[in-house]
């Protein structure tokens, strides 16, 4: 069987993330996002490609949403309430708690913007969320008998997860958005070393390599401080959750340290209520924030208050967080129109804005005018600060993750086409892993792993545990819970299993499970006795020649019956053979020499039945070595014999 990955969104673009993967017969939808840059049908993934008959319940086994950003969850209410999908949906606890806030915020913006027809209602959102099953990190969820999923910490935003899915013997990871470096409020992504057929990773910063985040945070704080110190107003357009809380932790902390009194406002969409969620979900934040919750919960902001519309034109400096982000409409657009014309003011924008938004326009070049529609335009004289820190991993982080997981195949999504192409090349050339970057609505097919299942008998298992077999590696206790932070130690290859070469016999009987047994058990089962087939050859060796090879000076062996003499001869032979055959590991066992099944001992019989050769004429000067061996060592045995007979 194969794995099929149908990319319905975020293929060579950012927006409406949605990948439908069929793996050993199970079909999983990873993310169900919407595209902020479009108003038409392109805003949602083309769900008809999943099922022509639109029978989504039978076409899909489950949906997994990685985090609450709209480009990952935005189309979910539409898919469940309008398209009618009723199967299971999984999210982490924070995502289940926070996604409805994002969706509601977005719905309001859509309705307010030119009275656009709603795609889904508030009821749709709450009905949709009722179907969601919340999961904890690392919780192993058995979706059905064959499908197992597990979430890993992804950083990025509160509750963001990378998702592991396993069906039968095939497994994959879909990363969603992730961050490989910790920031003020979230930790870095963390995942176990897993055996994967496929890794689907985001690639927002496919070619960017960033330095420390802290310096860039300071830049942001400096820009805001300078603006308010000069009496200006700072507009921070953000979505209700995520960036707002992250920047707010930064500012609240800075305000405390600098003893600033300038008000920090949250616009109506960004209710302080949202912080309530963050407080309860504090165990999903960074180590530092987590540790202090008992005394002071970091999301109890001291300097933040609610904004009132009348304050837009109030005199004096202030900082305002307003929704939606990227200035795609709503209140942030309203404030933008009023504040943009003054050079005293500052607008901060995230590192990435979706094409089509005002945020995107402001970032491309330095426009002095923004055309809203054919009747309206805004003069832009204010300063623009682009946040240079991002909750996405950079190119090095992506490479680190791919290297750490070493999957059989990689698919890149959630990035920009040219940059993805160069990352794809790099993954292939540096890591030797096949990599794809499909466009939207394209499918990628890769082979899947399958094992043949059999029962194994005790005797077989015992023989496997036999210490005679080589241990390549000592069994370590478990898959390391290695953090994949930028730490070379964590990336060092670590094989966590015992590896032993084992031999046995696989038996298939009609209407019985295949069984692996030890060969002795097979005979027992058949009621048969082993019949050993061996070869024997009594080989004459010239004493003179043997003497020559010996390094130690010895009296000629005229009487070979005494044990010590035998040993001396055997020793000589051993020295000789060891030097002639570099491949084998000859063992001198005193009375005889052995290599694999080949054995040679001195034959003191007068007429040995195996002395059938007539190639040696001068029998009086010969010592006879009786040799035996079995089938598999045939070639080797004859080689040794010819060495003994001729070369010596």
């Amino acid at each position: 069987m194969a794995i099929e990955c149908l990319v319905l969104g975020a293929g060579q673009e950012i927006g409406k993330s949605c990948a439908v993967v069929t793996i050993n017969g199970k079909r999983i939808m990873f993310d169900c996002g919407m595209h902020m840059g479009y108003d038409d049908h392109r805003r949602y993934p083309d769900f008809s490609l999943i099922s022509k008959s639109r029978d989504f319940d039978n076409a899909i086994d489950c949906i997994i949403i990685t985090h609450f950003h709209l480009d990952h969850v935005g189309a979910l209410p539409f898919f469940t309430e309008v398209c009618g999908y009723r199967g299971p949906i999984y999210m982490t606890y924070p995502t289940k708690a926070l996604a409805p806030l994002m969706l509601e915020d977005y719905r309001k913006v859509m309705v307010e913007r030119r009275g656009e027809e709603e795609q889904f209602t508030s009821d749709n959102i709450s009905e949709c969320m009722k179907k969601v099953i919340a999961v904890d990190l690392k919780q192993t969820v058995q979706v059905d008998k064959d499908l197992q999923i597990r979430a890993y910490y992804a950083g990025h935003v509160l509750g963001a997860a990378m998702v592991y899915a396993k069906v039968g013997d095939s497994a994959m990871v879909y990363t969603g958005d992730y961050n490989m470096t910790p920031d003020r409020h979230l930790g870095a992504a963390q995942i176990d070393r897993l055996q994967l057929d496929l890794l689907i990773t985001e690639s927002t910063y496919a070619t960017t390599v960033r330095d420390s985040k802290y310096a860039r945070e300071r830049e942001f704080l400096k820009a805001v401080h300078q603006c308010v110190a000069a009496g200006g107003k700072v507009l921070i357009p953000t979505f209700a959750l995520g960036r707002a809380q992250e920047l707010c932790i930064l500012l609240d902390d800075y305000w405390e340290r600098m003893n600033l009194r300038v008000p920090i406002y949250f616009s109506a969409g960004l209710t302080i209520q949202a912080n309530m969620y963050y407080k309860m979900l504090i165990s999903w934040t960074s180590q530092k924030v987590k540790e202090t919750y008992a005394t002071h919960n970091a999301f109890d902001f001291k300097n933040v208050r609610n904004f009132d519309r009348s304050l837009i034109d109030a005199p004096g400096p202030c900082v305002l967080f307003a929704t939606p982000g990227m200035i795609s409409g709503g209140f942030s657009l309203e404030v933008f129109k009023r504040w943009a014309p003054s050079e005293m003011n500052l607008i901060t924008l995230p590192g990435y804005c979706v094409a089509g938004t005002i945020g995107h326009k402001l970032m491309s070049g330095k426009p002095t005018k923004i055309v809203l529609d054919k009747d309206n335009q805004v003069d832009v004289r204010c300063q623009i600060h682009q946040l240079s820190f991002s909750p996405h991993t950079d190119a090095k982080g992506i490479m680190d993750l791919v290297k750490f997981l070493s999957p059989q195949h990689v698919i890149l999504v959630h990035g920009e086409k040219p940059k993805m192409a160069s990352l794809k090349k790099k993954i292939h050339s540096e890591l030797g892993i096949t990599c794809y970057d499909p466009a939207n609505n394209e499918s990628v097919y890769i082979p899947s792993t399958n094992y043949v299942k059999a029962g194994a008998s005790d005797a077989f298992m015992q023989s496997c545990m036999n210490p005679n077999f080589k241990f390549l590696k000592r069994g370590s206790e478990e898959i390391p819970n290695a953090s994949i932070q930028r730490c070379t130690k964590a990336l060092s290859p670590l094989q966590v299993s015992d590896e032993r070469v084992v031999e046995g016999i696989l038996i298939m009987e009609k209407s019985k499970k295949a069984k692996v047994v030890h060969q002795d058990e097979l005979l027992l089962k058949l009621g048969a006795k082993r019949h050993e087939v061996q070869f024997a050859y009594c080989c004459p060796v010239s004493v003179e020649k043997l003497e020559k090879t010996a390094t130690t000076d010895l009296t000629p062996a005229t009487n070979v019956s005494s044990v010590t003499d035998k040993c001396i001869l055997i020793k000589k032979l051993f020295t000789k053979l060891s030097s002639e055959f570099s491949v084998g590991d000859f063992r001198n066992l005193g009375e005889y020499i052995r290599l694999e099944s080949f054995q040679a001992s001195i034959c003191s019989k007068d007429s040995c039945p195996y002395r059938i050769t007539n190639s040696f004429q001068n029998k009086s000067k010969a010592v006879f070595f009786c040799c035996t061996w079995s089938g598999p060592d045939e070639k080797l045995a004859w080689k040794i014999i010819s060495t003994l007979e001729n070369a010596i």
């Binding site: 969320m129 690392k138 165990s283 008992a294 031999e503 061996q534 195996y610 059938i612 045939e634």
Partner: protein, 692 residues
């Protein structure tokens, strides 16, 4: 595979303890402390200021005990227990005695199923050679650690009073002293057969707790962890407490689940998830709570021998016990209201975190509906942290609480109640804030339920003479003994048992749904549960300290063969036996509880396809025929020496060269002058033998 019940415990504060030998590993389940035994000690005298007010100080006078008092004691032997009978010394703590009979360094794994189940862990981690991997859920570890820290801090009062203890065994543990103890106390100290004295341990220190916790591995809900590549271990909610769990151990040799005290519908913790335990080969049933159950089994529900899955799960989803539990909490609240109305105070030294959290919410509601302005105090060194913690672990809470998370409300009401100053939290009775705020009547939650430790001791002394005041006791203590140091008691005492496990009538439907091959069930519960018909399961009954040998769970181990290895198979058909066989060679990988056979690095050598194993018996005529097909001729000489075996013979090959074939029952020896002839003879023999 072996199994021993080390202790059947006693109630939810002292869970049972087991050792299981499975697949070569030794697993210990839980490591609790028996706090009910603490009652043989006298509590510390009250604070120094209060001592002045007390007419008699229990211990201070007693401390200078000499020969005379010993003689007094002896005389009193047969009299009812007296406060002076209690041991006046720094207490030791009673652990599971039978555990000390094992060499703990042979324990590989410790699985903890609840916060109280880990209170004895620091005793183990102190022992040299103990190196077991200890698994605890994240939530249980956090709460358990707080409980240990609280224990250490409460115990400090004894240390301060009695001074540093001598390194040798304390005076009270000497046989002469133990002999003098009244039989009731002696039974607790020594156990019924007098052997349990070895279970007593001096308390660990804060450093020991820290060291222990650093060695514990915490797990998330249903997180899979792999021990030694072979065992996959997973914790699933039991519903008893926040973080309390049942365990699933999967291995190639079979699957085991451990069912501790479990609650189907909890008002705080995530419910007992029994679905996850389905399909296990063995169930280790360790819920003894039915033992305390006074209710009669509803015969009607039992007679209905249903095996219909839906009906079974319906009988499990009957939430009667949880509504009864709520009624119980309401009853406690109404008793508390009665007391405060009469001007008395209420002392609630309950240990169960969930009970405290729910009682807090309920009592505030009761107070409000009776328009009473009575302060609620929580006095405990760990209360602040514990309360804050309970509000940040939605992942371990019941559905109703989770709904609060999704609607953005605090998970428990105490967060707001503390802000509104309806609940006050103080670390200790002598904390300055408490002294400033203190008002009576009041309702106080404080440890410890044994009435020998913590703020409870002080408050009980203060209120014991007030007949309007109320003490709420867990019924896991012997009330007479526990209250002995506080006699005469005018205070009202309400002793209650809280739901701590599966009701007897649910045991059978549960096991029917889970369908294990084998159930290990407590002998003590045998009379409480009638297994009318658990389909295919068989039940083994266990008693304390008896080792049970168990049959293997699976006939054979599971092995996975990689498909590239499988594609190299050369099948050989054994027609008579209707069997296909092939030789198998690969690298064995033990990985995440699975045995996998992968194709090795060495390239498959065609010569390796030659049979290595032969069976059958060559017949001289057949052999000659086969040989002649290959142009080899000779004559047969029957062996004369080996008269017993008819099959023994020798073939003297004449053409193309002289060679010898010696055939015996157990094998054949080929002796030929050159390689070519030898291998042709070999081929001929192979043709008349079977081989692989």
């Amino acid at each position: 595979m072996k199994f021993t019940c080390l202790s059947k415990g006693g109630g939810s504060n002292f869970p049972p303890c087991y050792i299981l030998d499975f697949g070569g590993f030794r697993v210990l389940f839980d490591c609790p402390i028996d706090f009910s035994a603490l009652t043989i000690f006298s509590p510390v005298p009250t604070d120094f200021d209060d001592i002045i007010n007390e007419e008699t100080s229990d211990c201070a006078a007693h401390k200078s005990s000499d020969a005379e008092t010993v003689a007094q004691k002896r005389r009193k032997l047969e009299k009812p227990l007296d406060v002076n009978d209690l041991i006046c010394a720094e207490p030791w703590y009673k652990t599971v005695n039978n555990l000390h009979l094992w060499n703990v360094s042979f324990i590989d794994i410790v699985l903890i199923s609840s916060p109280v189940g880990m209170l004895g862990l620091p005793f183990l981690t102190q022992i040299k050679g103990f190196s077991a991997k200890m698994y605890v859920t994240e939530a249980a570890a956090r709460i358990g650690q707080l409980m240990m820290e609280d224990l250490v801090s409460m115990h400090m009062e004894y240390r301060q009073f009695y001074g540093l203890e001598e390194s040798t065994a304390p005076e009270w543990m000497k046989w002469e002293e133990l002999e003098l103890l009244p039989s009731a106390l002696r039974n607790i100290a020594l156990g019924k057969d007098g052997a349990e004295i070895g279970g007593w341990m001096p308390l660990y220190s804060a450093a020991h707790v820290k060291d222990c916790m650093s060695k514990v591995q915490t797990l998330k809900y249903a997180e899979e962890t792999c021990y030694n590549g072979t065992l996959i271990i997973k914790a699933i909610s039991s519903g008893l407490e926040i973080g309390a769990c049942n365990w699933i151990i999967n291995s190639p040799k079979g699957n085991i689940s451990y069912i501790s005290g479990s609650i189907f519908f909890s008002g705080h913790a995530m419910d007992f998830n029994y679905h996850a335990l389905q399909g296990c080969d063995l169930i280790l049933y360790s819920d003894f709570s039915s033992l305390d159950s006074t209710e009669d089994i509803d015969q009607s529900s039992l007679s209905n021998e249903s095996s219909n899955w839906e009906e079974l799960s319906k009988s499990l989803s009957n939430c009667e016990e949880s509504s009864k539990e709520m009624e119980k909490l309401d009853f406690i609240c109404s008793c508390a209201i009665d007391s405060v109305k009469a001007g008395g105070s209420v002392l609630i030294p309950v240990n169960r975190v969930g009970v405290i959290l729910q009682l807090l919410e309920q009592i505030v509601m009761f107070l409000e509906s009776s328009s009473l302005k009575i302060p609620i105090y929580i006095v405990s060194s760990i209360a602040e942290e514990l309360l804050a913690y309970t509000n940040v672990i939605p992942e371990w809470l019941c559905k109703q609480r989770l709904e609060k998370l999704f609607s953005g409300e605090p998970l428990f009401a105490h967060i707001d109640l503390i802000k509104e100053k309806k609940i006050h939290v103080f670390p200790a009775v002598h904390s300055p804030k408490l002294i400033i705020n203190w008002q009576e009547p009041c309702i106080v939650f404080s440890p410890h339920w044994s009435l020998r430790l913590g703020p409870t001791v002080h408050l009980l002394r203060r209120w014991r003479g007030d007949h309007n005041s109320l003490l709420v006791l867990e019924n896991e203590v012997d009330a007479d003994l526990a209250l002995l140091p506080f006699t005469p008691m005018s205070m009202k005492v309400l002793q209650c048992s809280f739901l701590s496990g599966i009701k007897p009538q649910k045991i059978e439907p549960l096991l029917k749904i889970l369908q294990p091959k084998l159930v290990l069930f407590p002998e003590d519960l045998r009379s409480h549960v009638r297994f009318s018909n658990i389909n295919s399961s068989s039940v083994s009954y266990y008693t304390e300290n008896e080792t049970i040998h168990l049959p293997r769970l699976k006939e054979s181990s599971e092995l996975e063969i990689s498909s590239d290895l499988a594609s190299q198979f050369r099948w050989r058909i054994l027609k008579q036996k209707n069997m296909n066989i092939t030789r198998l060679k690969g690298e064995l990988l033990i990985n995440h509880g699975k045995h996998q056979l992968l194709s090795g690095n060495d390239q498959a050598d065609p010569s390796e396809n030659k049979p290595l194993l032969h069976w059958g018996s060559p017949d001289p005529e057949n052999l000659l025929a086969e040989l002649s097909k290959m142009g080899i001729n000779g004559f047969v000489e029957r062996s004369m020496t080996d008269a017993g075996s008819e099959e023994a013979f020798t073939v003297h090959v004449q053409n193309p060269e002289k060679a010898l074939i010696e055939v015996r029952t157990e094998g054949t020896i080929i002796s030929a002058p050159d390689e070519n002839l030898a291998s042709r003879i070999f081929e001929a023999i192979e043709n008349i033998l079977e081989g692989i």
